[in-house]
C-alpha cells in the first residue's frame, strides 16, 4: 500500500465499517434469539416434516360430497357478496376521510385526526377487527361488512389522500380564481384530477376485499371461512383442500378481473 494510492471502496449505506459489522451482528443475534425463543430445535422441525408428509396424504385428493359442494358454493357467494357491499360502503366512508387527510387541502388538526384514523385501521389485522365486530353486531355477514368497510377505509383513504396531495394545485387555483365556492373548488378543481386513480384503487381494493372475505368467517363474520374452520375441526382434510381450491380459484378470478380493469384504465 503505497502512500496516496487511490483505492476504491464499494459504496455502502454505513458510515463506518465497524458500524456495518455491528449491525450485521445485531441482526444475526436477533434471529438467534428468535429461534431460541420459539424453540425451533432441528429435531422438532424434522418431526414436524415427518408428520407433514403423512398428513399431506390426507389432504389429497380434494373431495366433497354433493351436499358439501352446495355448501361451498353458497358460502362462497356470501363471501363475494360481503366483498361487493363492503367495497362500496368502504369507499363511501373513505372519500371524505381521504379529503380531510390530504395535507394540501385540509386544515392541520383535521389532517392529523384523519391520519390517526387511517393508521388505526391499517394497524389491526382483519381478523382482529372481525372478532370485535362479531361481538358488537353479532355473528353473520353484517360483522363481515363492518370489518371490511373498516379495513377498506385505512387503505383507500391513505392512497387516495396521497393522490390528492400529488395533484396540480394550479388547476385548483384557477377554479378558485374564477370565483367558485369551496365545494365547487373540490368538485371542479380536485375531483377531475383524481377520478382515474379512484377507479383503479376501487377495483384493487375490491380484489383485496374478496381475499379478506374468504377468511373472516373463521371468527364468525360470514362467508366461506366458517366452513373451512368446521372442516378443520372435524379432521375432514379432503373437504378442507376442496374448500382451499375453491378459495384459490375465486381469488385468482378476482385478481384477473382487477388486473384487466386496472390496465384498461391506466
Amino acid at each position: 500500500m503505497a502512500a496516496g494510492e487511490a483505492t476504491w471502496d464499494r459504496p455502502s449505506v454505513f458510515p463506518r465499517r465497524e458500524i456495518k459489522w455491528l449491525t450485521y451482528l445485531a441482526v444475526v443475534a436477533f434471529f438467534l434469539w428468535s429461534a431460541w425463543g420459539l424453540g425451533a430445535a432441528p429435531g422438532r422441525i424434522l418431526d414436524g416434516i415427518g408428520n407433514a408428509v403423512t398428513l399431506a396424504g390426507d389432504f389429497v385428493p380434494p373431495e366433497a360430497t354433493p351436499r358439501q359442494r352446495t355448501r361451498i358454493v353458497e358460502k362462497m357467494l356470501e363471501s363475494v357478496a360481503i366483498a361487493m357491499v363492503s367495497t362500496l360502503t368502504g369507499i363511501l366512508v373513505s372519500v371524505p376521510i381521504a379529503f380531510m387527510a390530504a395535507e394540501n387541502i385540509s386544515p392541520r388538526p383535521l389532517y392529523a385526526l384523519n391520519r390517526g384514523l387511517i393508521s388505526i385501521s391499517r394497524a389491526f389485522n382483519a381478523i382482529i377487527v372481525a372478532i370485535i365486530a362479531v361481538k358488537a353486531v353479532g355473528f353473520g355477514p353484517l360483522a363481515g361488512i363492518v370489518t371490511i368497510t373498516f379495513k377498506t377505509v385505512g387503505f383507500f383513504s391513505k392512497l387516495l389522500a396521497e393522490d390528492i396531495e400529488d395533484i396540480d394545485m394550479g388547476s385548483v387555483e384557477a377554479v378558485r380564481a374564477a370565483g367558485s365556492s369551496p365545494v365547487q373548488t373540490l368538485l371542479y378543481g380536485v375531483v377531475p384530477q383524481i377520478v382515474p386513480r379512484f377507479a383503479g384503487l376501487s377495483i384493487y381494493r375490491w380484489d383485496i376485499n374478496i381475499r379478506t372475505s374468504t377468511i373472516i368467517g373463521i371468527v364468525g363474520a360470514g362467508g366461506i371461512g366458517s366452513v373451512l374452520l368446521t372442516a378443520f375441526n372435524r379432521y375432514d382434510y379432503g373437504y378442507v383442500s376442496a374448500i382451499l381450491l375453491a378459495i384459490i380459484a375465486v381469488v385468482l378470478v378476482a385478481e384477473g378481473v382487477s388486473a384487466v380493469v386496472r390496465r384498461r384504465y391506466q
Binding site: 394497524a123 353484517l142 374452520l229
Partner: protein
Amino acid sequence: MSTETPTWERFDRRRRLGRFFALLATAVTVLVSWRFLSIEFVALDTVPREVADLLTRMYPPDVAYTPEIVGPLIETVHIAALGTIGAVALAIPVALLAAENTTPNALTYWLGKVLVTVSRSVNTIIWALIFVVMFGAGALPGAIAIAFRSVGFLGKLLGEEIEEIDFGQVEAVRAAGASPVQMLLYGILPQVKPALVGLTVYRWEINIRDSTVLGFVGAGGIGVELFRAIDAFAWRSVSMILIAILGIVVLSELISKQTRGMVR
C-alpha cells in the same frame, strides 16, 4: 346545419356506453349482493350504537395487565422475524424459477409462477391452520405459516427485480469461468441486493401485523392473549392488548420505512 360548431368530448360514444354499462353492472351487483345477504336497513342504526357501547366498555385500558402481555408480544416479534428469514430462504430459489431470464426452461418457469400464486392466494391464517395440524399448536407453526405466506410476495417481487437486471454482468462472470453458484453470488445477487433488503424489511413489517392474529388458530403470539381476553369479555384487557399491538405495528412501520430509505 352546415355551421356545426366543433365540440370537445372526453370520450367517444362507444366508451361512454361502456362506462355507463360498467357502472350499471356494478350497481346491480352490489344491490343483488345486499339482497342476498338479507341484511335489513335497520342495521345502519344498530352498528354505530353497538360499536359505541363496546368502546365505552373498553375504556379505560387495563394498565395493570401490561406485564402479562410482554411475553406474548415478544413471541409475536420472534414469529415475524423467523417467518421472514424462512421466507427469504425459500423465496430466492422460487424467484429464480419465476424470473424469465434465470429460469432453466418453460416448465420451471411455470412451476415458479404456480408456487408464487398458491402462496399468495392462501391467507396466513389458513396456512397457520394447516401447520398447526402438522406441527401441533405453538409458535413454530406460526412462523412456518408466515414463511409460506411470504414466499409468494417475495418470490413475485424479487423475480420481477431479477428480470430487470443487466444480464451482461452475469455473462461476464460466466465468461470468467464461474460455476452456477458463483454466477448467482457475483453476477445476480449484487444487482438485486438493495431490492432484496428493501423487500425483506417491507415484508417483515407486514408479517408483524399478520403474526398478531395467528393465536386465533393456536399458532402463538399475542393473538392467544387477545382471543382469551375477548372470550372472557375482559374488554379493558382487550383494549390494552390492542394498544400494545398498535404500538408494535407503528414501531415496525418506522423501522421499515427508515431501513428502506437507507437502501434505496
